[in-house]
Symmetry: D2
Subunit: 351 residues, 4 copies
């Protein structure tokens, strides 16, 4: 009940802390007969790994090799749970002992302490970005399923980083630059902005946009489990996300019905919570990572404020690494909706 | 599995269409011993009813009288499910027969048709705003629980309508004007904007902001069921919502870590998905209601586009009516989190 | 979370107490396009009503008219929740006031008091047999679904009453006698046994057996949600059930592998938790209803024991009325498993 | 959705096949602050391992060493998911290739084939008894929780094996004989019966009884999630179980209300689905394991019957090994009910 399961029919349960021996996931609900391409899962995981300096990532090595423990036989899913294991190779708990009695600003530290009465102070624990590796691995399985039952294609990218916004959207460019921006010219300015932050021992955020094609009309449920409602939960469950919009988003708030009803893209591919067959487009606002090298004032368990500079390696900008996580969460939602839709009508011939 | 249940421990299941005999809800999970003030539930429902012309509402009469069918004995909850029933007094199905073969723009009509192969064309059915009356009634029960176990106070209001934004936030003003704006001067301009839309047979949207005080630090779960993640799902499940933000929202995307970490209100009362004890603040973008009196082009079941003007009464602006629905959904999430927190630690004395 | 929901994809939520204004159910997950025969639902409810004196039932009148509130349009399910309402016509709370401070033996009274700190002492409340009317109505919907997607036929009957066991099983006889025994000769002896109990102000129990044909091989899930596991939960959730067996049941315990592997009917149609295509057969042991007219010693809230005779009408034997409830619960389980099976394989053509 | 998750608040998800690289479990919902005694978990697992020849077990070595991957910090649960991993040391898939095209009688083989269109034919896969190791490990965690919040003690034993029934119940004897019988004299006769079966290349079953003390009155929910209902599901989810009874069980069916109401132990500690504070007693009928060395007729994928003798080691009687699994499943149910009870009343002081 600590909320580590996502989905009902396509159900993912994750476990593991950044500084324990391993993290992992159990995917229960993959239909039998799906070809499980382990290379693809590994590729997706590699996309999430710390990247180049230009992308604002630290250079530590995380191999993130995924081991499939169950649920696959002779290259295909068997219909039973797929266990996924990723060993943690790099556990330097000692780095964190000085943070034992401090609550880092912008992090879950204080909340964990208030919630559980004590906390595993070695890094973020369950709130660490490392946990998202499990989502990416599970999301890769969801993508394999979606590919098989519909021509669903999910593409996320950095629309904005450090205040620099892409002027063109060319999906071909995304994986060709470390920022995962669909606009190479914007990517250069983003890299400059990141470098500037690095020098200031600071960090920056951005906006991830996601486009999904190939979803047929009819996915999503009418009331609480609307397609956009599930996407909102999924994307907001990613640590640094502070905003989520579909289609016109906040611009719709100042539009009129006559304009908004017919504006292309205003609905974002979802009307009344149900896919309408158009391209699905949503955005997530990612805050600047709170882990920075500057000295900051931090509340302590003693109730006082303490000036403290967190040592160690910090990502300056996590936005490029959030991109594959957003895709993974979207894939989990769509796999769920695709399977639910199989139960929506008594018989396909009856319609 | 049509997604009509919300929550796990404090679990609400709704049913009913706008043009059927009744709508209702079952609240399973209310702890025993809570005083059930039926007047309060009715008052909350009355807040959702169509209001004055100034608020952009139609003037049809809906009594929306709630009947409590079970789960209450001698004024207190018994611990068993509370059944709530609201009869539909005003079913003019004939109004809708002309829409039988058309899909209204911006509505769920086409999605329903694609999903189920046919649809109840009498109004929005499950996608009608009428369904939200059940949420408000259930949310009232959640508020009664929250009031009892913590001094939680949930206040939503219209921050912006038709592009007019409040300059001051005075919570005392909200229920004193039909727009539910916390700024009377802005409310006047909003009313003008609504009147303008009415004349144009058009509609307008806005932004609802919600402030919650009294939530102790520690509510919300670390991974998929983060407090903001559940709020995002809850608020996005309200029909017209196209955007959701917490704290700094999209502004955080262009901030830096050093600024964002210490900016008052940036976190919005939730860090790492767990309440931090501060005031919780979130916003929802509400699109202009797609039901307008202008002639519009509508796709038909025949595949062609048809010019058509929807007759009947339309709300020009649903934002003031969305306000109590947003509060209700927030209350359902918080009631769930409050009860989950009871299971988070083995013993309060053990810490 | 008071456990009033059953099923995940075909999900039933019930509410209501025996002495409140109404009881009801919400069935969420009925696929769209199923013909909803309201007469059939009513007939199933009528089978659960108190019957003739010969069947050991009291003669009070309960009309148990079900009203369908939602989810059906032009005679077919729409895919949205079906709300079912049954008004309580006969609420004599005064009969029960004398039981306010006593805990009836064999009933849930003491458990409720211990659980919730107080209880609705008017009859059994949620533990009343009356609650099962909702199960029968929901089960009727499940039967309509099962009939449509497979030729599933569920037939339960009184195998044994008051120690009298049927020697022949002729399913044609079941509805021809008030005991619902498949053996008319046994039925006569059962009626005598019941009459004897009535004279003694006593009650008697029995065994309900259920046979299900038409279930294809492959329904049920491998581990926790085995078909027999779900049936066990479903049947044991009926108030008076104290035992449940499948196929050879306890006789299997003293058999050998060589014999049991090949004995016809030993598996009861379920192996490894999955239907094998054979007839499914299970039994439920029903204890004698604890409500009897004799004076009994009852613990009071004061901690002392009190001699007390419960006045009013009592069913001498509830077994014939449990028969349709067992069928209903089996139908709910099978509807769930049938829909889950739609998600088990990626594509029927892929095998 | 393959049904590999058990519980809602204390939620266990298992994965893994007998012949894959590993099996494991994720326990999500353990409250923070519980001392996690890894030795105890290992001891429980050791109780499930193949035992002595006298107990009818094969002598293969399974180390079954459990690794805790997450959720524990400095010896205490952190409130986050506890990942448990058990490597499979002994995978002889080649032993099974000859069974590729045959469906073993009494096993899930045919059901799996019908369900998924193909199957992992290496042993029982998910239906293998090996899967129960995960239940025992998770159950050990549940026991640690129950011990902490209430003095719950769960003791199961072999009441009957191969038709030999214990005449005395002395719980002290259980772990002193390989049959786990509470009657040493019966244990000797059981061992003889097992030896006889072994010589015949046959197997035998039995009855496991479970006694639970220390459960306070009030656990269990009134309707579908009755305590006995959840126990029934839990116990019936163990592969070989064909019957489940509480208290008087089937004997209640032929009793009368006046007798049954006051008979000690008739209720088995559960009335109306709620614990009454008395000792909880239930029984499970275990069929003889279908894996025997005799030549048997087996259906093949070709539709014909084939005489075949399954080679390799077989347990003659799995009853002693089922004992700790029954305890584990009972512990999972009780941990769930204990936590749910924390949400049943608004305030303990309010009663």
């Amino acid at each position: 009940m600590s909320g580590s399961t996502f989905g009902t029919i396509f159900k993912v349960t994750t476990f593991g802390e950044s500084h324990g021996p391993a993290i992992g996931a159990v995917v229960d609900g993959m239909p039998a007969g799906v070809e499980i391409d382990q290379n693809f899962i590994q590729q997706e995981l590699d996309r999430r790994r710390p990247g180049s300096k230009a992308a604002g990532s630290t250079l530590r090595k995380e191999s993130d090799t995924v081991e499939i423990l169950s649920g696959v036989f002779e290259g295909k899913s068997t219909g039973t749970p797929i266990g996924l294991l990723i060993r943690n190779s790099d556990q330097h708990s000692s780095d964190y002992s000085q943070l034992k009695d401090l609550f880092r600003p912008g992090h879950a530290d204080w909340g964990f302490h208030a919630k559980y009465g004590f906390r595993d102070y070695r890094g973020g624990g369950r709130s660490s970005g490392r946990e998202t590796a499990c989502r990416v691995a599970a999301g890769a399985l969801a993508k394999l399923l979606l590919r098989r039952i519909s021509q669903v294609k999910i593409t996320a990218y950095a629309l904005e980083i450090g205040g620099v916004r892409c002027q063109n959207i060319d999906l071909e460019q995304i994986e060709k630059n470390p920022l995962r921006a669909p606009d190479l010219s914007a990517a250069e300015k983003m890299a400059e902005r990141i470098e500037e932050c690095r020098k200031n021992l600071d960090s920056c955020g951005g906006i991830v946009e996601c486009r999904i094609t190939g979803v047929p009309a009819g996915w999503g449920e009418p009331v609480f489990d609307k397609l956009d409602s599930l996407l909102a939960q999924a994307v907001f469950s990613i640590g640094a996300v502070k905003g989520f919009t579909v289609g016109a988003g906040f611009a719709a708030a100042s539009s009129t019905g006559s304009v908004n009803n017919s504006a292309p893209g205003a609905a974002g591919g979802i009307r009344g919570g149900i896919s309408d067959g158009d391209e699905i487009v949503f955005q997530a606002a990612v805050k600047p990572t709170p882990s920075i090298g500057q000295e900051q004032l931090m509340p302590g368990v003693d109730g006082a404020m303490h000036p403290f500079a967190i040592k160690g390696r910090h990502d300056v900008c996590i936005v490029p690494r959030v991109v594959p996580v957003v895709e993974a969460m979207a894939a989990l939602v769509l796999a769920e909706c695709a399977l639910r839709q199989r139960c929506a009508v008594v018989s396909e011939n009856s319609n």
